[in-house]
Subunit: 168 residues, 2 copies
Amino acid sequence: MSERPTPTLERTDLTNDIGWALGTAFRAYLRSTGAEVQDIPGGPRGYQVLVMGSSPACSNQSTIANELGIDRTVMTYLLDDLERADLVVRRPDPADRRSRQVLLTDAGRAKLATVQSRLIQVERDLLGALTDDEAAAFKALLYRVAAGTGSDLPKNACSVAEEVLPTP
Amino acid sequence: MSERPTPTLERTDLTNDIGWALGTAFRAYLRSTGAEVQDIPGGPRGYQVLVMGSSPACSNQSTIANELGIDRTVMTYLLDDLERADLVVRRPDPADRRSRQVLLTDAGRAKLATVQSRLIQVERDLLGALTDDEAAAFKALLYRVAAGTGSDLPKNACSVAEEVLPTP
DNA sequence: TATTGTTATACTCTATAACTATA
DNA sequence: TATAGTTATAGAGTATAACAATA
């Protein structure tokens, strides 16, 4: 009992574990956005599909799946639900007919706008422990980390779909 | 076709979506740590249980579950596996015999030390897009965000278990 | 041959509820 | 009564493999 009490515990502390911090922050995000996106099929992921589909740039099905870390087979079911809810429409990519583009319907754009306006406050709450300057700095650093992880931002060229799509 | 092209798309961009950034960074963490923790039952979560169990402070089963966002029923199965792998031991909390403390075996401490030393490099890779100063600033901000999310650091007092536990 | 998307199957993970024991 | 833990069941979510169409 006269040995030194905790010599083997160099730094085994969760407050020094970036995985714990990322996981805790991400769970808090899912928790606080849950109420806002619960009427979107797929919840938070369905919302993110809408965000990507709303981009006039590339929104191919496989690109979205890769970007969001969703398995392609899961993406099929998710898009089935979103299409059934009249939020998106699939159509063949004219440049590569194996591929299908994901386009938002008018209802999808309206839903996206509504949810996005609400999520501004959610983000403010999530970063409530930081000052405005710190929050801006944190976000800038976080985006650089995320962009540098390998699952990068869309980089493959694919045919643009800029036209407004009428709700079928 | 003479209407202004994209007036409804104010800022619908994933690079401005903190949920996407958190999710992408977290998935990258899980991916890059996967190889290092694959021989621990439960993978990344099993590792984090070891981290909390190694703390001489409170390591009650329910506290760990709350801290890590794990359901208490899932925690039972996870600890069953960790105990079967001879990494942890459960014992009744002398102060509240409903509760059980999670203690690391010698093998558990050895495993934890090995993995932690490897994860230093993983963290370095994960934050590879940042300079050393930026990485330090990012971590400090991230921990403040995580600590301010409600699922806080252990705050409830529970009896301390400082003694070294012999491997049974 | 490789890739995109779909489908069916099986598997894993998670949530719900009921139960024991302690407080 | 309320809480910590366990167990069993059912459900949601996910991965695997096979297939069709296209490149």
